[in-house]
Symmetry: C2
């Protein structure tokens, strides 16, 4: 189980590459995408470091975990590096997602088109609320009753479940998802899940993030 | 500027308390809230550590940054500790928020009631889209034209701005917010902001989080 806010809360698993490095990969990928869009073909670790506001040594160390990517003195080939990081992140294949909990946040995520560009295809939403059943969102994505969840997972090759449920339902639901073979949970519920070690979890605890912002704002104010 | 995904990307500021410790405070606060709800009056660092799946030594170290809170041998008084952490996080006072960008995510956040319970009061949304102007969300929160942003900030004692804009508009908008005295930005735009050092920023880069999940899922699959 991994937490985007604090991986170091959890006992670190035996992995070759630390979660701190993994956390930085999407940011590299984002900056390389921008460079590609700007038509930049090569970039040195120094130039990239200035742009990203990190040290060149950090960049080289991070990339060395994956074989380095670059030729000394020539800089990195932007498109190659972009494609390699995409592969490392598993973005070279499509992922089928379901969203469990079709409230404001669940529907907002379903309507957000950018995930699809990266190969994350939202297949369906599920909710207990009968008034929502049958409602169709953009691109024909439908909201189904919770009772259809298990069949849908089995029949649609779903690999990622997004949990946008209230805290109370999240634990029970995550067990059901795991029992039906889900190996990755993107958890927006305001609670920590308790799942087997072979299930990947990323928590997005929005309230925690807002409280951290409040702390940092307050601290600056206290200083004045 | 602080990033919920990787504070260590940024040059660490001179602070007494590291962002790693700060990141853990909301989680303590969440668990203590649950304990309070369950009627638990006292808890030892050992009991809390089992519940939170961290070491008791980590808990004691974290709390020592704030004076310790506990009496040796007696455990922590749950309500006292909850209230103290609330104060540290700045939750003992109300925060007035605006949301800039009233698309799916902006409206979903505005409709999410739980922030208000913690004292984060959403006062208004702003958007360029004229079709949205005047629309009223739950609790009478209204969507205004972007042209009214600056006046609204000045007249309504706003301290936190939530950015739920596309990447392209986010940089320009953050400058405008800072020029008008905003000291805290909760940034959901898919880009890093460039703001003065006295402005607190918390990034919620949802795509980055999803990519990290994809990596961790893939890595487990590769092992099989």
């Amino acid at each position: 189980m991994f937490d985007i806010f604090e991986g170091d809360f959890k006992v670190q698993e035996e992995t070759n590459i630390s979660q701190a490095v993994v956390s930085r990969l999407p940011r590299y990928f984002r900056y390389l995408g921008d460079l590609k869009d700007e038509g930049v073909e090569r970039i040195s670790s120094h130039e990239l470091s200035v742009r990203m506001n990190v040290t060149a040594s950090q960049i080289r160390q991070d990339f060395n975990h994956f074989g380095g990517f670059g030729q000394q003195g020539y800089g990195y080939n932007v498109t190659y590096l972009y494609d390699e990081i995409a592969k490392i992140l598993g973005l070279d294949k499509k992922h089928n997602l379901i969203i469990v909990g079709a409230g404001n946040l669940g529907q907002a995520l379903a309507n957000y088109m950018n995930f699809e560009k990266r190969g994350f295809i939202i297949k369906a939403l599920f909710d207990r609320n009968t008034e929502l059943h049958g409602k169709v969102l953009r691109g024909g994505i439908k909201i189904y009753p919770m009772e259809e969840l298990e069949n849908f997972i089995r029949e649609n090759d779903i690999d990622i479940a997004v949990l946008t449920l209230p805290k109370a339902g999240a634990l029970e639901c995550s067990s059901k998802l795991v029992d039906n073979g889900i190996k990755a949970i993107w958890n927006f519920a305001h609670t920590d899940l308790d799942v087997p070690g072979d299930v990947a979890v990323e928590n997005v605890h929005l309230s925690d993030s807002l409280m951290k912002l409040s702390y940092n704002e307050k601290k600056r104010f206290d200083k004045e």
